[in-house]
Amino acid sequence: MKLALAEIRRSRGRFAAIVAALVLIVFLVLVLNALADGLYYGATGAVRSGGADLYTFSADARRQFPRSSLPESDAAKIAAVPGVASVGAVGTLQGTGQCSGRCPSGVLDLAVIGYQPGQPGGPAHAVSGRMPREGEPGVAAADVTLKRKGVRIGDRVTVSGTSTPMQIVGFTSDSQYELQPTLWTTIETWRTVQGQARPELRGEQGMVQAFAVKVKAGTSKTETATAIDAALGGTSETISKGTAVLALPGVKAQKSTFNQIVYVTFIVAGIVIALFFALLTLEKRTQLAILKAIGASSRYLATGIVVQSVIVCAIGLALGIIASRLLALVLPASVPVTFRGASAVTVVIATLITGTLGAAFSFRRVTRIDPTSALGGA
């Protein structure tokens, strides 16, 4: 331990090189994670913030909101299923819109989501202002990303091609849909807006896209989902919120792509550490043979390598985390990044494990060093 620490202190340049490599790797992993999280949160906020346990889609919808269509009357059938605590209708509409009022001019990307205030399917609370009231026409709560774009409470937002402005009454957080800012409005207003924006769907009276279902505490969600589909006579597919989140277009693929990049980066980190200590051990062969001759056990020397690896990783992690936080400060708000403490903790643990494994590659070499080679020499 003492030996390992002294080596780092006196061979700073050499260890600085490996620390620098680790800082870059940690930085890369953290930024990738932040991007992955940012994309994930931005794409899934609307579903995650709905306070639902289950989502019921029409059977042929492939779990996609825009493809799904169920009669509003199904709500009563779902509510009658044992285990269901509450149910709310949900409808989505992606498009563009314009703001009138003090807000900036220009076209806004939007997702209008209709829900039933007080029921699952939409955010329960606004972070500022208020949510629409049940049946209240022509109002909406907006995701805070719209606030950052200059939209304020009292402004009116109109979806392109419609004549139904929605007055902003509050803001919700972490409730984006497909990376688009959402407008949370009543299911009735949504139906009106959709009817104007997508005239081809006007014929479908009394239809909603999906239902958000809250299950009673202590009831099995899978069993309730099966019971709902049975009650609707096989016209529906009811899935958990988690499954619905992953069913959003691109989310699953994005998640697995980013995860794979992160795994590969960790493998690279492990190899870099393994090579560093392997080279260091190779270079110190004579010195290690002498230490073994004077009574240092292989275990003592191997412990030293692990201690060094942990220190190198710890410094690399600290600097890498600082660097990624600095980057977060300078990134424009439009880049969807979310730096989560939980990701940082995972990266810390994974780096320490990879570092130790990498360092462990040198154990065999250390064990094999022959102390008799210390004598005779020349």
Binding site: M1, L3, R9, R10, L291, A293, I294
Partner: protein, 230 residues
């Protein structure tokens, strides 16, 4: 009780046609407090004998008793611990830990040999003083002269208070004057502390600082300085 007794120690490297008998039935006794020179040219088997009595290498046959322990019967783990506490090694050349100061090269033995730190630290300070290194204690090996490095190595061998000091060609990397000084100092420290020691050398001039000389040639050990041993 003698400090060391080697009985019929042989060592053969390899097997079959390629077998090399490096050491042939070596038998000798090192008395308590005795400083012995092991004289022989390179390839004579003197290093092999030193590695065997130093519990670094197992002999093919024979036994070596250091103090009251038969080192040839120790497991590898026991041998490591035995070396750490009972034997002090002085190696031929650049053998100090390069990133430790002179004093740290001594005090590190507390963690290697698992000996109480305060005891080792106190001994290290006394040794550095005696070896004339008090002023150089905080210097790294690269900042020390060859003679100073060798003196630090002597200090490291003595700091665990071992019963037996084994010295491998202490003059190999030093000029004659400096080499003589180092060997004198070594003899003096061994005597002063009542240790026993064996010094392997090919330099007959160093013999005068030891109590007794054994010569070795082609793996055969003989008493005294024999012809052809240098």
């Amino acid at each position: 009780m003698p400090a060391l007794h080697a009985q019929d120690v042989s060592k053969t490297y390899g097997s079959g046609h390629t077998a090399v008998e490096a050491l042939k039935h070596a038998t000798f006794t090192l008395d308590d407090g005795e400083f012995l020179a092991l004289l022989g040219p390179s390839g004579s088997g003197k290093t092999t004998l030193l590695t065997i009595v130093g519990a670094l290498l197992e002999p093919s046959t024979g036994e070596v008793v250091v103090g009251d322990r038969d080192v040839t019967r120790l497991s590898q783990k026991e041998r490591t611990a035995f070396r750490a506490r009972t034997i002090g090694f002085v190696f031929q050349s650049f053998n100090l830990v390069p990133f430790l100061t002179a004093r740290e090269n001594l005090t590190i033995m507390s963690s290697i040999a698992r000996v109480d730190r305060a005891t080792i630290d106190a001994r290290a300070d006394v040794l550095l003083e005696e070896l004339g290194l008090a002023e150089r204690r905080n210097n790294l090996p690269e900042e020390l002269s060859g003679g100073e490095r060798q003196r630090v190595a002597i200090g490291r061998a003595l700091v665990t208070d071992p019963a037996l000091i084994l010295v491998d060609e202490p003059t190999a990397s030093l000029d004659t004057a400096l080499g003589t000084q180092v060997v004198q100092l070594l003899a003096q420290e061994i005597k002063r502390r009542g240790k026993s020691g064996i010094m392997v050398t090919h330099d007959t001039r160093m013999v005068e600082y030891t109590d007794r000389t054994l010569s070795i040639l082609d793996g055969v050990l003989t008493e005294g300085v024999t012809a052809g041993s240098h």
